[in-house]
Each structure stands twice: as C-alpha cells, then as structure tokens.
Amino acid sequence: MVRIVTLLPLGDRALVVEVPALAGISARAMMRCLADRVTADAPPGITALVPAIESLTIHYDPLRLDYEALRFYLTRAIATLEIVPETVTEPVVIPVCYGGEFGPDLDDVAAAHTTTADAIIALHSATTYTVAMIGFLPGFPYLEGLAPELHTPRRATPRTAVPAGSVGIGGSSTGVYPFASPGGWQIIGRTPRSLFSPTRASPALLQAGDTVRFTPISAAALRALLEQP
C-alpha cells in the first residue's frame, strides 16, 4: 500500500512520521495501525510513541537503535501496512455541570454566538467527540467534532489558574483540564471525573481514538460527586 508519508528526524533521539489527511483515508486509523504494528514487531530501542493529529512521533534510544535502521523498518512497515477501519467504541460519558461558578465563560460564549446558555449546553452535550490526541497536560484530550456554532476564540488574557476538571472551548477544539493549570480556553463547565491519576493502572482516562459524550448535571450533583473520596 503506497501512502504519502514523510519520515523526518526530530533531534537525535526521535523521528516523526507525518501522515497528511487525504481524501478517503483516515490519518488516525493509519497511525493507530502503524502504532500497533510498531508495538508488535519493531526492533528494540523504542521508548515512546506519541500520536498527534496528523503525525506519530517515535522516540528511540540511539544506543540500541540506529536512525537508518528505524527508517528502513518504518518504510517497510508502512508499505505493507494493512489499515483496519476504526471500530466504533462506546463513548466515555463525562458528566458536566455547565455555567455558574463552574463555567464562568458560558454566558460570554452564548453572547459571542448571539444565543442562550441553554442552547450552548444542548449543542455541546449533543455531540459524540473523538479524542484527536493527548497533550498539553497529562491526560488532556483534544476533542474533535465541536459544532461550528460553538467555535470560539481563546480568551484574550489567559487565566493564571483554571481548576482541575474544567471543560473548555479553544477555537475549534473542546477539552477537559485534568489538573489545575494556567489556561486560555473559554471555561463552560466542570466535571467531577478524574481525567488523569498517576496511581491508577491506566493513568489517563482517555487515549487518542476514544469517543466522548458530555452529559449535563446539576451543581448539587457536581458538589456531591466532588466530595466523594
């Protein structure tokens, strides 16, 4: 199978496989299949695979694996890669208390789109999103599928502290802050679900390719869930 794929060194211990979006080919399906293949049969020396929206970054140790050897392996792997279509998985449900103290930018977002807060909530919680990639913070999902009517520029001045669990909109993306962090996204709600816990067997709740739905909950329900240990 011939693909328009570019292999580029990223410094002396990593390599980027760039997979451009092409008509009829899901870059994500290809990256997932390539990542599975690399995990299964790559020569030893690979330390990490980092999927992004149209690229897969492969970190390796040059003591164990040469750039040319890795490049040779990948060229062959890509040429013979069988792309299995993505299986539709059950969405991970993330309860969100929208607006009020937990979503201070909800009214601004509604005003920016000359609509009501309720209409924003209805639209945001009606979509099934796909995790395009994990980055920015441990477990932070960049979610694809935000309705164009909800696309909203980041805040002119980022907040110095956004609480953990905050659900935000940044441009055409939506996501959830796993940790308290400075951040410039429009904060429309808060979830009690933990997106990342270093002590869990699987620390990140989500990984690239997962699907997600948001479901509205009341402030009382959020407070009750936040108080649980």
Partner: protein, 333 residues
C-alpha cells in the same frame, strides 16, 4: 534525613524522568542536566536512576540528621560544608548534624548515597511540577521539609569507608575534565535542522546560525525563551500540534525562539526550527537568565556518535569506580 534549612529559588527531587509515558501526555521531566545528574550519582556509588536534588541557582542549606556520602555537580558551583569550601565532581563525607550550603550554581545536582527516598510514581521518582505528582509531595521543596535518604549500596559504603580510613572528608579522585561538558556562560550549541528550518527567511536563518541569543528572565524547567533577535518564516503558517523533544527550538508568533527543556509538554504547535543535540543539552541546562548561546548546524550521524560516546564514557567511569572499590580489594572486606 535531610532537614531543609534554606530551599533556594527552586529545588526539586529529580531523576532520569518518565520517557515511557509520553503517549499519555506526561512530560518527561527529570534532571535538566542528565550528565551532571548521572556523574554525581556514579561518584557516590548510586545507580544512575537514583533520585537527587536539583537546585536552581544557589541559596540552599541542608542539614543532615545522619552521616552521608554526597557529590555536587554542575556549572559555577560554590559550596561549603560547615564553612569549609567543597568542590563539585568529587564525593565527600557529611557527618551527622553537618550543614551543607550551596552558595551559587546554575542547575546543581546534589546526589546523596542511597538517593532521595521518595515513592516511585509512573516508573520514576522525579517531580512533575505542573501535574503535582512525583518527587517530594509533587512540589519544589520548602524550608523545614525532611527528606528521607535511601539505603546506600555496598559500593557507597566501601567508598565512605575508604574516605574514613584515609582520613579524608573529600575524595582525592573525581570526574575528570574529559567526562564533563564544556560548560560556559556563552556556549556554542550544535543543532540539527528541524522541519521548518528551510522556511525561515534569509535574514532569520543568518541570525539563528550566526548571532548570539540571550536567555530571557522568564526561562524555566519547561523551556528557555531567547531574546536578542526576532525570527520570521517567509510565510507565516498555522501548525498542527505534534511531538516535540528535549532541545526542540520552536518559533512562537512573536518571533522570539523557545528552546524546550526537561518539563516541556509532549506535543507542541509552533514551527520547529531545529533540535539541540543530546550531547549539548547539558550546556543549555546550565545557562542562567542573562547568559548567551550561539547555534551551529550539525548532522544527525555526528549527533548520534557524540551521544554514544558520552554514554560509553559514563558507563566506563561507572565500571572503573566499581572495580576500584570492588569488594575484597581494599583489604576491608
């Protein structure tokens, strides 16, 4: 235990970081200067993975509630033990109750035989400052923290016994100059071309590879902002986020390049001009705000040869120390 009398500007527990969790968005973290960290650990008889303290600049004072074997490593280190000056890159004995003061430095490693005994989180002991886990309670150390020391290896015990028998506080041997990076306050650092290097306009390319940049004050463990020249691509462009690594030189819209360091995010969305080679990262790690740096292009195979040479040199240094203090050869075992 180590009783923290003065924590300094930012002192964290660090090790070799978490390279295996980047798919989950976990920053690699770890010591900024991995060479200094490993040399310091080797000199006290530790495994290179042992956790040590990393101190930004100086002003650190530590009181030991047990005797210990310690090594300092980094650039421009001035330190004293109960008022007596101590040089870096050599193991020294600390007696119970002694006060170790780090007066000045850049990114100084303080390695203690047995390591700083904090729990392993996601395969490592280093502090993940932004996510608040790992290290000492997921944060920089504060005054009056009491840091536990792990059990020293038998090699550490033999090195210590050797110093006691020779009536030495500080070892006569240490890391030789050929093992140390060529630290400077204005180093020339080698980079490999990045994907958007060719998109720089001619003037910007000449500046990046010819002129010196200053390390801006808002530089930290995540990255260094470079001031002095604004760089431009011939055509500005929007990038999709993708993987980045230690030493990646990004170009944010303002035109001031940003060099990603230990606590960088796993992905970045700015054009990537190049990557500092691994062998020269210690030179970057030991720069202070106000210091200068120049970049020069090199090739990937040169960079990987340098990397392998340093790894072999470190492994050889460790073996040499193990042989010198092998059980039974110094008469005490």
């Amino acid at each position: 235990m180590i009783h923290v009398r003065q924590p300094g500007i930012q002192t964290t527990v660090q090790d070799l970081g978490r390279p295996y969790w980047q798919h989950a968005g976990v920053p690699v973290g770890g010591a900024m200067d991995l060479q200094a960290h490993r040399i310091a650990n080797i000199l006290v008889g530790n495994d290179v993975h042992a956790a040590a303290l990393e101190c930004a600049l100086g002003g650190v004072a530590l009181q030991f509630s047990t005797s210990a074997l310690v090594t300092l490593a980094g650039r421009d280190v001035t330190a004293s033990l109960d008022g007596t000056p101590i040089v870096p890159w050599r193991a020294f004995r600390v007696e119970r109750g002694a006060l170790l003061a780090l007066h000045t430095g850049c990114r100084t490693t303080i390695a203690v035989a047995g390591g700083i005994d904090v729990p392993i989180v996601l395969d490592a002991r280093g502090t993940s400052l932004r996510a608040g886990f790992g290290g000492w309670e997921g944060r920089a150390i504060r005054r009056d923290d009491q840091l536990p020391i792990g059990r020293p290896s038998s090699l550490s015990e033999r090195i210590r016994d050797h110093l006691v028998e020779a009536r030495l506080t500080i070892a006569r041997w240490g890391a030789g100059p050929d093992l140390l990076p060529a630290y400077s306050d204005a180093p020339t650092v080698r980079i490999i071309e990045g994907p958007q290097f060719a998109e720089l306009d001619d003037a910007s390319r000449t500046l990046l590879l010819g002129d010196s940049f200053r390390i801006a004050p808002d530089s930290d463990r995540m990255g260094y902002r470079l001031s002095g020249h604004a760089l431009r691509l011939t055509t500005p462009r929007e990038m999709l986020s993708s993987g980045v690594t230690a030493g990646t030189i990004q170009l944010p819209p303002g035109g001031a390049p940003l060099v990603l360091m230990a606590d960088r995010q796993t992905t970045g969305g700015y054009p990537r001009l190049g990557d500092v080679i691994t062998a020269d990262l210690p030179l970057m790690a030991q720069l202070r705000p106000g210091d200068h740096v120049r970049f020069v292009l090199t090739e990937l195979d040169v960079a990987q040869d340098q990397y392998r040479r340093i790894e072999h040199d470190l492994a050889r240094a460790q073996r040499a120390l193990q042989l010198r203090f092998a059980a039974g050869t110094d008469g005490s075992y």
